[in-house]
């Protein structure tokens, strides 16, 4: 990680472009400050576990909570969460507006909203008044109202203590005398242990997921009420945000052969069409039939169509006011693209960072920030290949990925050592 930061430091010291990342990826004081705040808040929650009378349930809840906290602190230390004035002001303003207009819920003002590097567009609440928003979410939404509803929804999760209640519900379920009795009976069986255990296991997991879907509906309802008070007249954006989320995984652009020919051709090494001839998916057929789990029963969230249907019916939402985006939103959205690809680099997802950078470079072929990111990602890919750890940083082809992404994944691995070296040299000259 140290090397990454040194590289990035070098990277940004040498850039002076308007479309550059403003995020300081080496802000160790922010990490310390955040860790301290996180420990303060969670220790208070840990103390509250004393009120759980059943010792086994208390132990289970406590153990899971500690594990979650350890994972979270590790992320803080790794620099996954970042501080930046532009985003902080924008996100905090939404939270403040929700707090001011919803005085019935004073805890809203305690909300600490964290910005996270990630490869997935997402927002989530973890309890203790923490909400996490990922950078790719910011680049995917259409306006601040959509984001305001999403944040309202996450605040609702915190208000309703869903994180804690979820742990408690699950611990109570698996420690119920009935489940224990059934498990003991299964263990005693000579034959068919697997079938009986499997049925019971499914029952528990489906029950947990069903409960999750119920909690999501609660958060949609309360979240909407909070949002409506703060953003009166723009209620339909709540529905629009769910529609946006529904389409968030659709790839909006792709890399064509011409793009590769443009990006991977130098004086010494001309682009070779054979680099792209390695389709490893279309020769296979993949079985899509349900094998073990009922997919619908496994979902933690109901489908967006169901959620929008429920909201429209429950709250009689109709299309109301339209509003042009603010300058700050436009600025956030624009920067989020650059910071998203930087974030992918920082979290060592070099493959995706390079792919997204190349997609971006199509639109801004002279952008040196992007060319530099191409260079740094290629260097990291080369290092990983030498160490035989490339698969930790570059996805493997997968039938669930787009054709464009799979082609890219094959392409990178198709390059020989000498060819990769040549492209690294080429992009190093662009620094």
């Amino acid at each position: 990680m140290r090397l990454v930061f040194l590289l990035m430091l070098y990277f940004f010291c040498h850039l002076g472009y308007s479309q550059k990342s403003s995020i300081d990826t080496t802000n160790h004081s922010y990490r310390k400050e955040l860790e301290k705040m996180y420990l303060q808040r969670t220790s208070k929650t840990t103390r509250s576990f004393k009120s759980i009378s059943d010792i086994k349930i208390r132990e289970e809840v406590s153990k899971s909570y500690i594990e979650m906290n350890e994972d979270f602190i590790e992320k803080i230390k790794k620099g996954v969460f970042v501080k930046d004035t532009l985003y902080s002001e924008f996100l905090n303003e939404i939270v403040q507006r929700l707090a001011i207009e919803n005085t019935d819920f004073p805890q809203i003002k305690n909300t600490k909203i964290l910005l996270s590097f990630s490869d997935i567009p997402n927002a989530y609440a973890i309890g203790d008044d923490f909400i996490i928003v990922t950078l790719p979410l910011l680049k995917s939404i259409n306006n601040e109202y959509e984001l305001a509803f999403i944040i309202g929804h996450e605040i609702a999760h915190n208000i309703l203590s869903h994180s804690y209640n979820g742990l408690l519900y699950y611990a109570q379920t698996v420690h119920s005398s009935e489940i224990k009795k059934q498990t003991r009976a299964i263990e005693k069986r000579k034959y068919d242990k697997g079938s009986y255990a499997s049925a019971l296991y499914k029952e528990i997991v489906y029950g947990k997921r069903k409960n999750s879907r119920k909690l999501e509906q609660q958060a949609d309802s309360l979240g909407f009420l909070l949002y409506r008070k703060a953003f009166k007249g723009y209620e339909h954006y709540a529905i629009q945000s769910l529609e946006t989320l529904d389409k968030i995984d659709f790839e909006k652009d792709s890399l064509t052969i011409a793009d590769y020919a443009r990006f991977f051709s130098t004086e010494k090494l001309q682009f070779k069409a054979e680099w792209l001839n390695n389709d490893e998916i279309s020769g296979y057929k993949y079985d899509k039939s349900v094998k073990y789990w009922l997919i619908d029963s496994l979902k933690t969230h109901a489908d967006c169509a169901l959620r929008t249907g429920f909201m429209k019916k429950e709250f009689q939402i109709h299309k109301t006011l339209e509003k042009k985006n603010t300058a700050i939103f436009d600025s956030v959205k624009k920067n989020s693209f650059y910071d998203y690809i930087l974030g992918l680099f920082v979290i060592e997802d070099y493959g995706k960072s390079l792919y997204e950078t190349l997609l971006f470079l199509k639109k801004e072929p002279e952008n040196s920030y992007l060319k530099n990111l191409v260079y740094f990602n290629l260097v990291k890919i080369q290092e990983a290949q030498k160490a035989y750890t490339l698969n930790r940083h570059l996805d493997n082809v997968n039938p669930n990925y787009s054709q464009s992404y799979n082609r890219y994944l094959s392409f990178i691995r198709e390059l020989r050592k000498s060819e990769l070296n040549e492209f690294i040299s080429y992009y190093s000259l662009q620094l």
Partner: protein, 525 residues
């Protein structure tokens, strides 16, 4: 991004609650076995099949699951079914995959029962049975066995027991490197007594009573069949599978009872129609010869054979090897060149004709690659046969078509001492004591990778065993040049186990204290 892969528990997400973990463990599968599925031509990996034991339904009936993965480890399909297994009080068996062969849109999955808790374990493979998977519809067939090349369905239900009568006459199949399977007919003389007493005294009678062998397609139809051992002559042939490619089938033949000078040969058959194309008798004008292995090119098959200059073939008296090239179409011998250990002389100070050099030991080829230009790549290893034999360095050699040396390099390795194992080089190779692992094509050009493993820890035997430092040696032959690289396998918190993967890749299973990560890594060339 990481493809975490737990070999023991396939299905269940990790959940912190112990009660659920217990249920998850009870209801999930126990890893049984895995097999690599090759493309029809045998050159590249097509995918993998993993077998799990899901449940025990009755004393001899289990619920199994097969999971089929593509060459990038993506799941293609899976299915569960009941499977019977032979079991006795004296011998404990387990189910294992015999082979998995892809032919057109079918996978043919062979399984057998293997005794695993006696000294005989390595030899008891019984109850050979099969299932096919249609790769278009993902339909698994019923299980079946073959008797005299006829399919007999097997059905299992809770409570089914398997007896010796159920499998005594079933045939075992061998996967060829072409689009076919190969098998010998059930011997007409097949006394069950050999299950309890030494097979040796019945051996000739059994061999003589095998009246045919055949090549089968993916539907178990006979493509061609050859009758052998007609009548009750005292002269009879014992065949065994030697090798194959997409065009030819090589069978080793031993003619019993003959007065011929040499009763052994390798017959070359057209794999598609059974025509006998040619034969390579184990004869040479100057040496006794014994085939080591065959390598194939588009037009030719090259036999790499051991050369002996005495009347008896004593393993320690090999004087070199020969490359005997046959035309695959005509079956005619095209060329025969010898390479004697003495030919190493410009590079090694060979002190006798059996390959001794200095006080070092000897060199034994581990594998060969025949290039289209007639050159041969050889990976060889040094060894010293003594009370506790030693495995020494690795040698990469490229020979020109006339068997003169074009390239020679010694790669230093840490010496391995084999406690109380005094054996000849060929025996050490048979038992897998050498460090060389396998070779593989890197791509569709004539570029190859050779892998070996070595414990580089210095110090006492105890120290080397207690704190090993295993490395994977990676030798690539690219653009006509050799390159050398190493990957540390023993790490502070994990151990990496390398394995075969698709062309140009190596499969690494990294076992840590908390998880098992399987990943395909591109060979760095």
């Amino acid at each position: 991004m990481k493809k975490y892969f737990t070999l023991l528990f396939l299905f269940f997400v990790s959940i912190a609650f112990s009660q659920v973990q217990k249920l998850g463990a009870l209801s999930s599968g126990q890893f049984l076995d895995s097999a690599i599925i090759y493309e029809e031509n045998g050159e590249d990996v097509w995918g993998y099949l993993l077998a799990y034991k899901i449940d025990k339904k009755s004393r001899e009936v289990y619920e199994l699951e097969y999971v089929v993965l593509d060459k990038n480890l993506n799941k293609l399909t899976s299915a569960k079914f009941l499977e019977g297994m032979f079991d006795t009080l004296l011998l404990k068996f387990k189910i294992e995959l015999t082979f998995v062969k892809k032919i057109k849109n079918q996978l043919i999955i062979g399984i057998n029962d293997k005794a695993n808790n006696t000294e005989l374990a390595a030899r008891v493979y019984i109850n050979h049975r099969f299932r096919t998977l249609n790769l278009d519809t993902f339909a698994f067939s019923k299980e079946f066995v073959l008797e005299d090349f006829k399919m007999i369905d097997r059905d299992y239900a809770t409570g089914t027991n398997t007896t010796i009568d159920d499998f005594w006459n079933v045939q075992q199949l061998i996967k060829t490197k072409g689009n076919y399977l190969f098998g010998f007919a059930t011997p007409a003389y097949n006394p069950k007594a050999v299950a309890y007493v030494s097979e040796q005294r019945h051996k000739d009678k059994i061999t003589k009573s095998i009246k045919s062998f055949a090549v089968l397609d993916e539907k178990m139809n006979i493509v061609w069949k050859k009758e052998i051992n007609a009548g009750d002559s005292k002269i009879f042939d014992e065949y065994s599978y030697f090798d194959s490619d997409t065009d030819v089938l090589l069978l080793q033949k031993y003619r019993h009872g003959t007065k011929d000078k040499e009763p052994r040969s390798i017959e070359i058959y057209n794999l598609h129609n059974g025509d006998l194309i040619g034969e390579m008798p184990f004869l040479d004008a100057k040496y006794l010869i014994f085939p080591d292995r065959a390598e194939f090119t588009k037009d030719n098959v090259a036999f790499y054979v051991q050369l002996y200059d005495n009347k008896k073939m004593l393993y320690e008296e090999v004087v070199g090897f020969s490359k005997v090239i046959f035309d695959k179409k005509t079956g005619k011998e095209l060329n025969r060149d010898h390479f004697l250990w003495e030919n190493f002389k410009p590079h090694l100070q060979i002190t006798n004709k059996y390959g001794e050099y200095d006080k070092y030991g000897k060199i034994l080829p581990q594998d060969f690659v025949l290039l289209e230009n007639g050159n041969t790549l050889i990976v060889a290893e040094g060894y010293k046969s003594k009370r506790s034999s030693e495995i020494l360095d690795l040698f990469m050699v490229e020979l020109l078509p006339d068997m003169s040396i074009k390239y020679f390099k010694k790669i230093d390795k840490n010496k391995i001492s084999l406690q109380n194992i005094n054996a000849a080089g060929i025996e050490l190779r048979q038992y897998g004591y050498f460090d060389f692992l396998y070779k593989q094509k890197l791509n569709n050009r004539e570029e190859y990778v050779f892998f070996y493993a070595n414990n580089e820890r210095e110090g006492s035997k105890y120290e080397r065993r207690k704190n090993p430092s295993w490395v994977l040696g990676i030798i690539t032959f690219v653009d006509g040049e050799f390159n050398y690289d190493k990957l540390q396998l023993t790490k502070k918190a994990s151990q990496i186990i390398p394995g075969k993967a698709k062309k140009g890749y190596v499969r690494l299973i990294e076992v840590g204290s908390d998880d098992v990560e399987m990943r395909l890594e591109k060979v760095n060339y």
